[in-house]
Symmetry: C2
Subunit: 316 residues, 2 copies
């Protein structure tokens, strides 16, 4: 179903509940809030299902949009949810009841809903929601701000390779409504917790460099996390931090897990295939970013992954 | 002079030399290379004057465009150069001879050239150059890539408050030519030298926090720089690093200088006026970002700036 049809379909509904995905990011939250606000401006009763995983980075956007417990929806919409396993526990209830419409941009969409509005060419689902809601008339700033958050966070503020000319055009339209994009950008791209900075500092001071700095192996132990009182939010996407180091072609980030295991994230450039490295340790992923989980201590994990890198280097 | 007029004027010239500003950034370099390439595509002889300050971050873009020593220009254009004191030593020779045209976006433009094409509403001078060169026909990828670098670097990859809807529209057009914007973005926004990371790490480990973390005072001594063998490029814009810390309202970055002085950069949010703080120590700047230079050691500078902050807090 095309977005114009989805826009027309939604106008015929009321008492609409909007669902976001597990471990929600800016795209799913921004889409849900933007769509909810736009529906309300069309005179609809619309709410977003509370998502227990939402971090403090995104909860402020949800204020005033979270469905009360006694809300009985007549129509259920999922946004940015590619598959069944990505529903939250509260969302699974509605998956069993049946999702009426899903709006998504993931090529891995599982078509679990009665109607699917999919455009896999979009960098962010927020782009698609923008095209949908503007079918109803001019987009208000209250609709535009969460959609800007959706688009900007899913593209690393227009930095990542998924960004398209259309992404920039949508951003231009959203900014023209007069939104405070500066505060949002500062919040999402130019703010780091002191604990996060201390984790990064720990990595810089303790990582192992091999081959003249072409290979960097960094580790964060459970003891490190405890000593810094760091949370998962502080450690989020820490693998990207190691990967940005100038001259590093292969970066490995090791996280010690409970139960005597370590989780490894491997980032490589064109000189090495990350999936082949991780496959040797039972993992997988993409050519430039892969992962695996291995038993043992951090030191054992370091030895194992370096051996795997050497093996793939030799075979190449 | 409007950019359409400037485009027509340039088409009537030949043997054109393009000048960039002192301590060149991505905007001035990107504008010069983009304009030079576009002029060549119009059959003109055009070169960029070598800039002795250009760092390795930008020199690759200049390859093939640097004027040979014996080039005798008939027409001289300055790009992104607001004032006379921003000419390089080599450029000053042409300032004396007379600049034929300046293309700029700074409101502080000094009108030193025979003709001025100024649009102070543009986030980057690269936006203006784009509008100018497309008057001559479709923009080629070789022209578009340096202009993308100009626009993206001057806006922090569309993150800073100077970004406008027009900035995004220009980026969309430039991307449509098929440029490798991913490699440029990785280079300019997602690469840090190990020395830079060690400087950041040093700041995190040694900065002083006051008022429950609302005030952060960081310092880099000459001994620190020497120990890490860090260069000015590694320390560039380090004040922004301290300013990104969550919960920090006032950040101070102290750089020890040769000769028993310290240079201080103060960043504040709306809770404190940075210029009033720095004015107490003989400096100045903007409400949210100001600076000053004080005699004495790093420790003396810390004491002096904290006293200045306390004085402005008390007066407020």
């Amino acid at each position: 179903m095309e977005y114009r049809e989805a826009a027309a379909l939604l106008l015929r509904q009321d008492d609409i509940l909007i669902l976001t995905h597990k471990r929600p990011d800016g795209d799913t939250i921004g889409c849900a809030v933007g769509l909810c606000q736009a529906l309300r401006e069309q005179g609809k009763t619309a709410w977003v299902l509370p998502n227990e995983d939402a971090t403090s980075l995104f909860t402020p956007y949800l204020e005033g949009y979270l469905a009360p417990e006694d809300f009985a929806p007549a129509y259920v919409v999922a946004v940015d949810i590619a598959g069944r396993q990505l529903f939250t526990p509260a969302g699974e209830v509605y998956l069993e009841r049946g999702i009426d419409l899903t709006i998504d941009h993931h090529p891995s969409q599982e078509y679990y809903a009665a109607e699917t509005c999919l455009d896999a060419g979009r960098a962010a689902c927020g782009e698609l929601i923008y095209d949908l809601v503007r079918q109803w008339g001019p987009v208000s700033p209250r609709t535009a701000l969460p959609l800007y958050v959706a688009v900007s966070t899913d593209t690393g503020c227009f930095m990542y390779s998924n960004t398209t000319p259309e992404t920039h055009r949508v951003a231009a339209h959203l900014m023209e409504t007069g939104i405070d994009f500066q505060t949002a950008n500062k919040r999402h791209f130019r703010t780091k917790s002191l604990k996060r900075l201390k984790l990064e500092s720990l990595i810089v001071e303790t990582m192992d460099l091999h081959d003249g700095g072409a290979i960097a192996i960094a580790a964060i132990s459970l003891a490190d996390m405890a000593r810094l009182a760091a949370t998962e939010r502080d450690a989020e996407d820490i693998a990207a931090f190691v990967g940005q180091m100038e001259g590093v072609h292969t970066s490995v980030t090791i996280r010690e897990l409970e139960g005597g295991e370590c989780k490894l994230s491997v980032r490589t450039d064109a000189t090495l295939n990350a999936t082949r490295v991780c496959a040797l340790l039972g993992g997988g992923g993409h050519a430039a970013a892969a992962g695996c989980t291995v038993p043992g201590t951090v030191e054992e994990a370091k030895t194992a992954i370096l051996a795997a890198i050497r093996k793939v280097q030799t075979d190449a």
